[in-house]
């Protein structure tokens, strides 16, 4: 198994003719991802990396059976692109784009939920089920198929974690970057629910950071409903309040979103929180060995 995407995923790349879209389409194809179509309005009929380009997502769904979308459209047009995918019936939408205004995301998040789709991101590296498919921009080669689920608000920090897991002989079922923005399509909890039901997944690594209360909510969910071992890391223990730490969502404001509070909330429900990132791989290995 694995969650959300696998060898049956048929991916449409929105913004395929752009620089990033083209580059990562090539990378995804190289990983073995089944990229069945690209979309760039007005460029229908072209080919990019051998992939047919269409004018509309609906065409990619009708003609190529696309069921997953990966979006590389610039921030000003990305909300429209996400909604187009959701309206066309795409059920898993991965939005890589960074810099979408928050109030646009208010509308997008509600729209996508109404359509019954799952939005990963925006401002995220995407999602990979190692050995099956990669829908996003993460370096595929550091992953290995296995039993660990990874959910993260960060990009390169996730690569770091995955690299340590792989080096500790812990492969991954699915790794999801949920995005670093204040409003994102899906939360830790949405994916924990899926990992709970996924037999391939035997343990989960949560990678949080300052800002918001998503980690606290995840802790509460895990306490009440999640039955597999969870290991967590929270970035930003040394971040000053009131400053936006790169990610639009990584800001301690109004006394909320501090790393200490998150760590405390997680520890309070019995989750192991790694304080030194360098030790994450080893700690994960110990925990999983203890199962």
């Amino acid at each position: 198994m694995s969650i959300l995407v696998d060898e049956n995923s048929r991916v449409v790349v929105q913004g395929i003719t752009g620089r990033e879209g083209t580059f990562h389409t090539q990378q995804m194809l190289a990983y073995g991802t089944n990229v069945v179509a690209g979309v760039t309005p007005g460029k229908g009929g072209q080919k990019v990396q051998g992939v047919p380009v269409m004018n509309r997502v609906a065409e990619a769904v009708e003609m190529e059976g696309a069921n997953v979308s990966c979006i590389f459209v610039p921030a000003a047009f990305a909300p429209d692109a996400v909604m187009e995918a959701a309206a066309a019936g795409i059920r898993v939408i991965v939005c890589i784009t960074e810099g979408i205004p928050v109030l646009d995301m208010v509308r997008v998040a509600n729209f996508v939920k109404e359509k019954g789709a799952m939005l990963i991101g925006p401002n995220c590296p995407g999602i990979i089920s190692p050995g099956k498919t990669k829908v996003g921009i993460m370096p595929g080669h550091i992953h290995r198929q296995g039993s660990m689920g990874v959910i993260s608000r960060s990009g390169t920090l996730t690569y770091e974690v995955v690299d340590q897991l792989t080096k500790s002989d812990l492969g991954q079922s699915t790794c999801i970057g949920i995005g670093g923005d204040p409003i994102i399509g899906t939360s830790f909890i949405d994916h924990l629910r899926l990992f709970k039901e996924d037999p391939q997944t035997e343990g989960v690594v949560l990678i949080g950071e300052i800002g918001g209360t998503a980690e606290e909510e995840a802790a509460e969910y895990i306490r009440a409903e999640f039955n597999k071992p969870v290991l967590a890391f929270i970035a930003g223990r040394t971040a000053p309040p009131g400053r936006r730490m790169g990610h639009a969502g990584a800001i301690i404001s109004g006394g909320q979103g501090r790393a200490e509070d998150k760590i405390e909330a997680l520890q309070a429900v019995g989750i192991t929180v790694v304080l030194n990132l360098a030790e994450l791989g080893d700690t994960a290995k110990q925990i999983m060995a203890g199962q």
Binding site: D104, S154, D163, G180, T213, P240, R243, G246
Partner: protein, 391 residues
Amino acid sequence: MKLHEYQAKELFQKAGIPVPKGRLLTSRDKLGSVLEEVPGPPWVIKAQVHAGGRGKGGGVRLVKGQGEAAEAVAELLEKPLVTPQTTAEGVIVHQLLVEEGVDIDKEFYLGMTVDRKLACPTMIFSPSGGMEIEEVAKQSPDLIFKEPVNPATGWMPYQARNLIYKLSQVPGGSTVKELSSTMKKIYDLFVANDCSLLEINPLVITKQGSVIALDAKMTIDDNALYRHKDLAQLDDPREKDPLEVLAEAASLNYIRLNGNIGAMVNGAGLAMATMDVIKLAGAEPANFLDVGGGASEEMITKGFEIILKDERVRAILINIFGGILRCDVLARGVLEAAKKTDIDVPLIVRLEGTNVEEGRKILEESDLDFLVARDMAEAAELVAKEVKRQG
């Protein structure tokens, strides 16, 4: 992007939200003419700085005459103001807002922000005006009333009633109408300007029963500035660290901190984690620097130069996990920067990911003096060692 109080109040006025009559003062000479235009005495003289806690730092003065006004201006204008949210040196006050005094009957807090969990704008109202809302939240959370706004309908009149009629002392009918209308305008202003925060603290009812916004705080969503050219022009770079202004121009995410270990990282999360590792190793990070996922050689060079410009920096840690950003690009950027500036502090480099071998080779074959860390653990150890060595 933060607006100054006087800038926010101008927007308030255009939107029909009542504010006290006032004028901006940027030079001592103009005080006389400004006082003539502003009804009073009494007047209120308010330092226009972005740092919070301005009142506690003495940045807001009630003056009863021209003499007192001149004294206050002399003490504030072009002088450093220290507040609980500034460094010990404080920030220089370049502008003062001179306003009429208002006969206050009651003080409220009225704010709007985006609720991340509910994914919608949310109005916050409290009868505990004048206090910091975080304090109210801690001490008497039952005095904080919230109304999330459904984006499909926008702010509805019943929501104002839900907030106002929760007050233990409901004001008179016309005041209720004014409060309700102010709430509607605040929502419209919030949405029209892509705010991430909008606060009136205090929003007051005067002895005459009118509603007036005594203070005004507005923060604009940086991501939305592209569609608000007018607002973007209100940015005041004097309020920022000069190195941060440089970084912004180069599209780098850089935040200056108080430590002495410079750090260059790709990715915000990894950059924060790197700061944390530096701290764990017993040192203090001098900055947060995320060069981003798709950084070019030029951006790397620029970022490295900015770190070197910070004279407090005693060692530099480069921590790159190549994804989109390839390690060879990083290496070439660093070498380019080294050509332009003398690197007189120890450099610790940790590379991983895409094109890592090529990147390491480029660095090794250069005449750059640096230490290699194989992983985060080793990087932390080397940083700690440097800190100890320098004592």
